[in-house]
């Protein structure tokens, strides 16, 4: 920074006497309403001086460089805003209106911080101090009362969940709930000052008064200038203690800053969690979360209250959620509240945006793979709407990314399946795409009630069809055959949500939701074959249909029973219906499952703070599940203890049940298919888990150290596999056109997972980021594989992640490096060939212990650079992002493939993505 004397540098106008939180709109209003009729021919600083004197505005700028800019301009009845825009544009400057009404003139976005500091120092030096807060209107008249309110974004009206509200000079503080509401009991007096802060927003202060305390207050916050490189995901929301540390194993994310991280296709909500400890970062083929040795289907994903059963698109390269439609996401890695249930490992709760309540806005992103558009608007005083749409297209990256999926289908195991001569296939590039649509309508007739309706529809069209043409040396005939391999799968979900405030101490959220998962797979051969003038029509294949329907009603209540007690309770019920049909040639039914189940129950949880240092949260959840006709009791517990201001201890635990399972149908030639089934208590038991978690964190203004250890027992795990012979398969009954036979295998087993997660995070500054290290182990035991525990498929011993972000003016640079121990796999040790009775030879492999071998370590470096597009007013209107996935092109092995050629076992690797660049352009109107 240049050494210049402060009084010279800064010019302060006369402080306005407006009420503080109304000052920014006031300043904006003055800028818009005031018409300038003036001829300026002077240095810019003098012009600003004149304006500030005339219109009572506070401008902060560096005088020396501004002085060198001359203005010769005649304004004819132009608004002050336009005047400001004109002069800023001409001189390559930006202006920024802070929430105290101060207008900063910036040469570079990063100047804001420095100017603010200078402003502050100047205020203490100067005798003219800007009034920052109303004085109390009089002596306090009310004592020890309760208040309630809502924290929202000033510009869009969106609620801000997790914002910290505290009373100045007291130890009272609280955080807003998921609807942005808060309640505070025992407020000492009605002259107190409320301080409100939230990540990404300018902290603000609000003076209480006689009338405000009687009603539901609305506290708006202004977004902070995008110049600050803020932490994208935090274990805790920054700043104030004692609220966030009430929670154990929680990760939070706001999608707004996601463009700062490297991406493959697009900003990705679920994939970002993979950068945190405890969530595996080496599964490129899935957006699903492998949390603490669990599988993705053990993670409950809800969107505005309905359960999402297909969380990714296009083989896992996209998560199913459009970041433009998402307000915030929370992931509970374990030991979570009794409010949630039905899954063994984790919960990811996604809340959609309500849509801008103040003005119409439109925006979108375009990358080399997909297009993303959204629009949001207020409909009238009480309602708003948001619509967003995404679709992938076959951009330049398409072949590179999806080529590997075709490759894996081309290599056939066993050889010589139906249709024979697989090696002669003439492949065409498959054309797969997805689209998804989000819509939301919010209606808030009063401060006390709000209704919202959410609709989500996501569909994947995966087409791996090929033409089959045989070279002339194989056959003396011509053929026009097409091998269809078409999958359409998707999730449709809708929910109606009613949020109600019943007085100051009681809140409720009731959601009626419907979610439907569909997966239809059609594979077969159609066409004609002409041989010696005779034409044969060929049409055979298999159809696979899986549909899950989930109709649910859930009501969650929050009662602030006393200053030390908060009671959470609620009830829920679901009707689940799952169909799974597997048909050959339209007529022969191989599998036909039609299962129905009802789940119903209730929960109660107490948040108890016996002292200011201790938070205890015991809970219980009681669920009835109709297919087994049993009650399932899930005790939950978590507690935190503040040893010092900076140091917290935390423990959590509980029991968890899961009633629906995602199972895999093994299809050796064409890739595995997954679908959902219901536990029936017999072949597929209701699975259960016990979590034990303990940890601590140490937090300073700049740094956070968070350490958690966990142990998780898993019982009643099911691996359900369907093996198919004939028809589509190969193998012993390797024959063309005969009926497919199906073997259903139900393997039931147990498992456990344990680990320690360490997070060291630098929270603020131009350089931010974190280091995450996880030492973990996950083992399973299935009688089908032997009597010993073997490493689970997702078992990874060491995982290290380094996330680095550097901010420079309008540029943000990020580098993330992920290192992970290789995944376990089962390897062939030898082979042997048996003559079957029909005279054919069948070759089998002898294999190592289940998952007895390890793939080499996985590691990759991702880089990105993002350039912010700013308006003259300093508001961000978009960004251009360049990213480089797997920058040093490390070969990471996905899995190994074995085929028998010339009696040898040939081993080939199927790899994850190599170096992949991408460019994303994001724009929004306002």
């Amino acid at each position: 920074m240049k050494k210049l004397s402060l009084p010279l540098l800064l010019f302060l106008t006369i402080a306005c006497t407006q009420q503080l939180h109304a000052q920014a709109p006031q300043a904006q209003k003055i800028l818009k309403k005031t018409m300038v009729e003036h001829f300026f021919s002077c240095p810019l600083d003098e012009m600003l001086d004149t304006l500030s004197m005339q219109y009572k505005l506070r401008f902060i700028f560096e005088r020396e460089p501004i002085h060198t800019m001359d203005i010769v301009e005649h304004f004819f009845n132009e608004s002050l805003l336009d005047v400001l825009k004109t002069v800023c544009q001409k001189n390559d400057l930006h202006y920024w209106v802070e929430n105290d009404g101060t207008i900063y003139i910036l040469q570079q976005p990063d100047d804001l911080e420095r100017l603010k500091q200078l402003n502050k120092m100047n205020q203490t030096l100067s005798k003219v101090k800007p009034k920052t807060l109303d004085p109390p209107k009089g002596p306090p008249t009310h004592f020890m009362f309760s208040i309630s309110g809502r924290v929202v974004d000033q510009n869009t009206g969106e609620a801000l969940p997790g914002a910290i509200v505290s009373i100045r000079n007291t130890s009272l503080n609280t955080a807003t709930n998921t609807n942005g509401n808060f309640t505070m009991l025992n407020v000492p007096a009605d002259t107190c000052v409320l301080e409100v802060s939230f990540m990404g927003y300018q902290p603000d202060k609000f003076r209480l008064d006689d009338s405000k305390i009687k009603e539901q207050m609305v506290l708006p916050l202004f977004p902070s200038m995008n110049a600050l490189n803020e932490v994208v995901i935090t274990d805790k929301k920054h700043g104030v203690m004692n609220t966030d540390s009430k929670k154990v194993s929680v990760l939070q994310l706001t999608p707004a800053a996601l463009d700062k991280l490297p991406n493959i296709g697009e900003r990705d909500i679920l994939r970002s969690f993979q950068l945190m400890p405890g969530v595996s970062g080496s599964n490129e083929s899935s957006s699903g979360a492998y949390v603490r040795g669990g599988t993705p289907d053990q993670n409950l994903v809800t969107f505005d209250g309905f359960t999402v059963y297909q969380v990714d698109h296009l083989y896992g390269f996209y998560s199913a959620f459009n970041p433009n439609a998402v307000r915030d996401v929370e992931m509970y890695k374990g030991g979570y509240s009794a409010k949630y249930g039905g899954r063994l490992s984790a919960v990811t709760e996604i809340r959609g945006k309500d849509g801008n309540k103040n003005e119409f806005n439109i925006g979108g992103d375009i990358s080399l793979l997909s297009l993303n558009l959204y629009a949001e608007t207020p409909l009238n005083k009480n309602s708003s709407a948001l619509v967003s749409f995404r679709r992938s297209y076959q951009g330049p990256l398409y072949d590179k990314i999806f080529g590997q999926f075709n490759k894996s289908t081309a290599i056939g195991g066993g050889g010589g399946g139906p249709g024979g001569g697989r090696g002669f296939m003439n492949q065409t590039t498959p054309s797969s795409y997805f689209y998804d649509l989000n819509a939301k309508y919010t209606y808030a007739p009063s401060d006390k009630n709000s209704f919202s309706w959410t609709y989500y529809s996501g569909t994947d069209h995966l087409d791996n069809s090929r033409d089959l043409n045989f070279p002339s040396f194989v056959a003396s005939y011509t053929s026009d055959l097409k091998m269809n391999d078409y999958t359409k799968s998707g999730n449709v979900g809708t929910s109606g949500k009613w949020v109600s405030t019943w007085g100051k101490k009681l809140f409720s959220t009731t959601v009626l939701s419907y979610s439907q998962f569909n997966s239809d797979h059609n594979q077969g051969t159609t066409g004609t074959v002409t041989d010696s003038g005779t034409t044969t029509n060929v049409n055979n294949g298999v159809l696979e249909h899986n549909r899950l329907r989930d109709l649910s009603l859930k009501s969650d209540w929050e009662w602030q029973a006393g200053s030390k007690y908060k009671v959470l309770f609620g009830a829920y019920g679901s009707y689940l219906n799952i169909d799974y049909d597997y048909t050959q040639n339209d007529t022969i039914s191989l599998i036909s499952q039609h299962n129905t189940g009802e789940i119903g129950g209730s929960y109660a949880e107490l948040e108890f703070d016996p002292t200011t240092n201790l938070h205890i949260q015991p809970g219980i959840r009681e669920t009835y599940y109709s297919p087994t006709g049993k009650m399932y009791t899930e005790p939950r517990f978590n507690a935190t203890y503040h040893l010092t201001d900076r140091f917290n201890l935390k423990v959590a635990g509980g029991r968890f049940y899961q009633f629906t399972n995602q199972v895999t149908r093994e299809d050796i030639l064409n890739g595995n298919r997954t679908f959902w089934t219901l536990a029936d208590g017999k072949t597929m038991p209701v699975s259960s888990a016990n979590h034990y978690i303990a940890g601590f964190n140490y937090e300073t203004k700049d740094f956070l150290i968070d350490v958690e250890g966990y142990y998780k027992q898993l019982n009643g795990l099911t691996q359900y596999s369907i093996r198919q012979q004939g028809g589509g398969g190969g193998g012993g009954f390797n024959t063309v056109g005969t009926t497919t036979t199906i073997t259903e295998n139900y393997y039931v087993g147990n498992g456990w997972a344990k680990g320690i997660e360490v997070l060291l995070q630098k929270k603020v500054g131009v350089y931010t980021g974190w280091i995450a290290y996880t030492l973990a182990q996950s083992k399973s035991k299935f009688a089908a594989y032997g009597t010993d525990y073997f490493p689970s498929d997702q078992d990874v011993r060491n995982e290290f992640k380094s996330i680095n972000m550097y901010h420079l003016q309008r540029w943000s640079f990020a580098a993330t490096w992920i290192y992970s121990t290789g995944k376990p796999y089962t390897a062939p040790l030898g082979s042997y060939t048996i003559n079957t009775v029909d005279g054919n030879k069948q070759t089998y492999l002898t294999i190592s212990d289940k998952n007895g071998e390890r793939l080499p370590a996985y590691h990759r470096l991702d880089l990105s650079a993002t350039y912010d597009l700013l308006k003259i007013s300093g508001n961000k209107v978009g960004s251009i992002g360049f990213s480089l996935f797997n920058a040093y092109n490390h070969t990471n092995i996905w899995y190994k493939q074995y085929s028998i050629q010339n009696n040898q076992v040939v081993i080939s690797n199927v790899n994850y993505l190599g170096m992949t660049p991408n460019i994303t352009l994001s724009l929004r109107w306002k």
Binding site: G413, G416, Q725, G726, T735
Partner: protein, 266 residues
């Protein structure tokens, strides 16, 4: 406070190290490569013959592993034990097939590399009342509707719900392929499971000539062998079930009945 925190960190690390040091790496089961491969089908009316050979290393291009010579194989029917003689390298035979009687349990035993290898199987009933609705079949040259219809129906009686398969074997020296579906297998097996009839579709036949449709009553171990594949990727590799203790392969008894089919296309 700082000291306390350091102590705590240290303690946590110690606990962590202890928690993980208790785990030992499970060694790969090397013994598996020492297991001999046994292939023996006991069929009344046929010579009793059991082949024993080694597994192959992955890069071996030979069809079968090296024959294991010089073993002393015994076969017992529960009351009588006979010794098999090595008629060719790794092939052990016993000439008197009257030894094979329906319902008896046969146990094969030998010692290989100081380990006792054994396998057991029960001789199933001979298939009864095996018929086919048609034995001379002219295969269609044209349309789907015919090729998807039933060419012939095989029936048999199966009061005990025993496992059956039908093996189709073409006796021609150079079977003539009639359709365009690449290179389907000439001989093939159909799993008819525990049923009493099987409908054979026209399009299931890819070659013309004389076929023997051999109905075999089999034991479950044979079904298990045919039903399973090793898998083709590290994500789905699985060991094949075997009824050979301390070994691999199959030792199973079966009985057969044959219907001759004449397939033409004109």
């Amino acid at each position: 406070m700082e000291i306390k925190i350091h102590q705590l960190l240290f303690t946590v690390m110690i606990i962590g190290v202890l928690a993980f040091s208790s785990c030992t790496k499970t060694s790969v089961d090397n013994a598996i490569s020492n297991k001999p491969v046994v292939v023996g089908y006991l069929v009344p009316g046929q010579l009793i013959s059991v082949k024993i050979y080694q597994q192959k290393v992955l890069t071996d291009t030979a069809t079968y592993g090296a024959a294991i010579k010089g073993l002393a194989l015994t076969l017992s029917d529960g009351s009588k034990t006979v010794s098999l003689t090595e008629s060719a390298a790794g092939t052990y035979t016993y000439a008197d097939n009257t030894f094979l009687v329906t319902g008896k349990t046969y146990t094969l035993q030998f010692t290989y590399l100081n380990t006792q290898v054994s396998a057991q199987t029960v001789m199933p009933e001979k298939p009864q009342n095996y018929t086919a609705t048609k034995t001379t079949i002219n295969l269609p040259t044209g349309t789907t509707s015919i090729s998807d219809s039933v060419a012939t129906t095989f029936r048999w009686s199966n009061p005990d719900s025993a496992y059956h398969v039908i093996a189709f074997k073409n006796d021609d020296t150079a079977p003539f392929q009639i359709n365009s579906r690449g290179n389907p297998l000439v001989n093939f097996t159909v799993n008819v499971n525990k049923t009493i009839e099987y409908q054979m579709l026209y399009r299931s036949f890819n070659y013309i000539g004389i076929y023997r449709a051999i109905l075999l009553s089999v034991d479950k171990e044979y079904i298990d062998l045919l039903n399973n594949q090793s898998g083709s990727s590290s994500q789905n590799l699985a060991n094949i079930p075997t009824n050979v203790n301390n070994g691999l392969g199959i030792f199973t008894a079966m009985q057969a009945d044959t219907i001759k089919l004449t397939l033409t296309q004109y």
